[in-house]
């Protein structure tokens, strides 16, 4: 307690130096909080768009589908689809259950033919349950109650490559389940973009019954379950685990995170970058505090001699300077948290930071800064740790000064 009070008094004795040290820590902390918050925003956006446009929160399929189904989807078709759908839809966390039947084939205007990947959706459910939030219609309209059973939405890049426009009739060509060729015509009612160029140049979205007719089979490949809230995932999977023994025998499930390979890679990359930034800020703070404590030890050499002469132990001397360094870290860190949060709010209030289109995407976006307690705590703990580390050596040196020499230091 006594060391603490003395340390506080000493910190505020040399105000200018202390303020400069605080500034270094505060700007570092602010940088970390803003970047960390931006990073978390990016994660959230990417996570939700991945879930809502492609994956759903949980996918349920026949056992083995997720390992081997891609090569031979016909083997894992779910024919009793209505009963499975009813069981899943009964769970309280569930917002929407939809099913997918996919095919790959050719799409043609008559003049030009390209390969495509098509999938059938439950139009009524999905348009009611905003499964398409992150898919923007750039021309025409989305599939909904007003569209007909033979209408489809095509990716923007695919449309460009075909040279087609809304209202055109296109032909789809694919093999059916039993291996024969089949062709059906549909009407383009909308052009949509997801933000991913690759995906936009292949996808065709059609009503499920249309796709069933195209591949000549009355079944689905998998169910996609969208929850009310991504945070409910744990509860939902627990419930599904229970159902696997009863109503969903012979089925298995995957959560979005097991399927979202791209998202996980992006997250890992960003977290790596964040650690590098923490390291850089840490080094700056390290030198800043080490300098402050070293100066303080040098200026107060005679005082150290006096303290040692009147009975302060080496450990007590070391503790005094170490406390000063850590206190500077803690106080600077707290100021940094407050300023960082204020800056984050200011950025959000002014409308966010414009981010140009990332690689492989064709839309820029406005990034917000999320205030995430874990990120702030992580940054704060790192700074306090660094402040302890940086005052360790000068404090040790102070404790090892020869008393007689220290007393005669001018």
């Amino acid at each position: 307690m006594n060391t603490l009070i003395l340390a506080i008094k000493n910190i505020f004795k040399n105000r200018r130096r202390t303020v400069i040290t605080f500034l270094a820590i505060t700007s570092g902390m602010t940088g970390l909080i803003v970047f960390g918050g931006y990073m978390e925003f990016t994660f959230m956006g990417l996570r939700e768009s991945t879930i809502r446009t492609q994956l759903g929160h949980v996918q349920v399929a026949k056992k083995g589908y997720f390992e081997k189904g891609l090569a031979n989807p016909g083997k894992y078709l779910i024919r009793e689809s209505e009963s499975v759908e009813r069981v899943l839809a009964r769970m309280p966390e569930v917002k929407l259950v939809t099913s997918r039947l996919t095919f790959s084939g050719l799409i043609s205007t008559g003049e030009r033919t390209l390969s495509c990947k098509g999938f059938g959706i439950n139009v009524a459910e999905e348009s009611a349950g905003d499964m398409n939030t992150f898919e923007t219609v750039v021309d025409g309209q989305q599939l909904d109650e007003s569209t007909g059973p033979g209408d489809g939405v095509v990716g923007v890049e695919l449309m460009k490559a075909l040279g087609a426009k809304v209202g055109d009739y296109l032909t789809l060509l694919t093999t059916t389940i039993d291996g024969t060729m089949n062709a059906l015509e549909f009407k383009v009612v909308g052009v949509a973009e997801t933000g991913s160029k690759e995906y936009d140049s292949v996808f065709v979205k059609l009503p499920l019954p249309f796709v069933k007719r195209l591949v000549n089979c009355n079944a689905v490949e998998k169910f996609m379950v969208l929850l009310n809230d991504t945070d409910d995932l744990g509860k939902a999977t627990k419930r599904i685990n229970g159902l696997l023994a009863t109503d969903l025998q012979g089925m298995e499930y995957r959560t979005w995170s097991e399927l979202a390979d791209f998202y996980l890679k992006v997250e890992r990359l960003y977290r790596g970058i964040f650690d590098i930034i923490i390291f850089i800020v840490g080094v700056i703070v390290l030198f800043s505090i080490a300098n402050t404590i070293t100066m303080s030890v040098f200026e107060r050499t005679r005082e150290i001699g006096t303290l040692r002469a009147i009975g302060t132990t080496r450990l007590g001397t070391m503790r005094l300077f170490l406390t000063e360094g850590i206190l500077i870290g803690i106080i600077g860190g707290i100021i940094g948290v407050v300023v960082g949060i204020m800056v984050a709010y200011a950025i959000n209030f002014s409308g966010g930071i414009y981010v140009p289109p990332p690689p492989g995407q064709n839309r820029g976006y406005l990034a917000m800064v999320l205030i995430v307690p874990q990120v702030i705590l992580y940054a704060f703990a790192s700074i306090v740790g660094v402040s302890a580390l940086s005052s360790l050596y000068p404090s040790f040196k102070a404790s090892r000064l020869k008393i007689v020499e220290a007393l005669h230091h001018i």
Binding site: N2, L6, K9, N10, K13, R302, E303, G305, T306, L307, R308, A309, I310, G311, T312, T313, R314, L315, G316, K402, I403, V404, L407
Partner: protein
């Protein structure tokens, strides 16, 4: 109570070795008021540093209450300095961020004296040196004489056996210097505390009961 036996002390000063003490033997008894005199560079400070366990001799023995100080570990020496020895310095050496009261209190905090007792001891000590009114003042708000009084209070608050004062009056005008010596003498009589002070001022040494004159690292009388 303090004894030096054939003590020498060498210092390295750059390339050369300086012999600060060249065989000093002396014995100081409990309750003495001793002065160590000599010109600057004669070895007074070195002698006082050895007596105060701030430094170790190159050869010879320093005995404090019949114990060889060379046998003590650093932490034990710290404790010894805290509760057995008091220090008064030429430039007062108060802690600038602490008030008079806190400066005097500091040695008691090290020895972990209870709060109530501590406050009483500090108040009594400040009263004895006549600075009760200045308890809340910081060193830079005090005159030189007042600062040295605070230092005397700090040196005596733990009720030490011996107080070492290295040129306690060198930074004071002569009137104040005499006042400080009067105060030290009074403390010596009231508390039966041994005082050892160094000076090069012939007028001051008259206060001492024993005078050792030191020259070129040897006691000459």
């Amino acid at each position: 109570m303090i004894e030096l036996r054939d003590v020498t002390k060498d210092y390295r000063l750059g390339e050369t070795t300086v012999q600060a003490l060249r065989g000093v033997t002396l014995h100081i008894k409990e309750g003495d008021f001793v002065s160590v005199c000599g010109p600057s560079g004669s070895g007074k400070s070195t002698l006082l540093n050895l007596l105060g366990c701030l430094d170790m001799p190159t050869s010879g023995m320093v005995l404090l209450m019949e114990k060889d100080v060379a046998d003590f570990r650093d932490s034990e020496l710290s404790r010894l300095r805290n509760n057995t020895i008091g220090f008064i310095f030429q430039s007062f050496n108060l802690i600038p961020v602490l008030t008079s009261f806190e400066n005097v209190e500091y040695p008691l905090l090290i020895s972990k004296t209870g709060k109530k007792e501590r406050k009483q001891m500090v108040a009594r000590m400040l009263d004895e040196v006549g600075l009760s009114k200045f308890a809340k003042h910081k060193p830079d708000q005090l005159s030189g004489g007042q600062r040295q009084r605070v230092a005397i209070a700090r040196a005596l608050v733990t009720n030490p056996r011996v107080v070492l004062a290295d040129e306690p009056t060198a930074n004071l005008d002569s009137a104040t210097g005499h006042e400080i010596l009067e105060l030290m003498k009074k403390m010596n009589e009231d508390h039966r505390t041994t005082f050892i002070f160094s000076t090069h001022d012939a007028k001051i040494r008259g206060y001492a009961s024993d005078v050792y004159t030191i020259s070129d690292g040897r006691i000459v009388q």
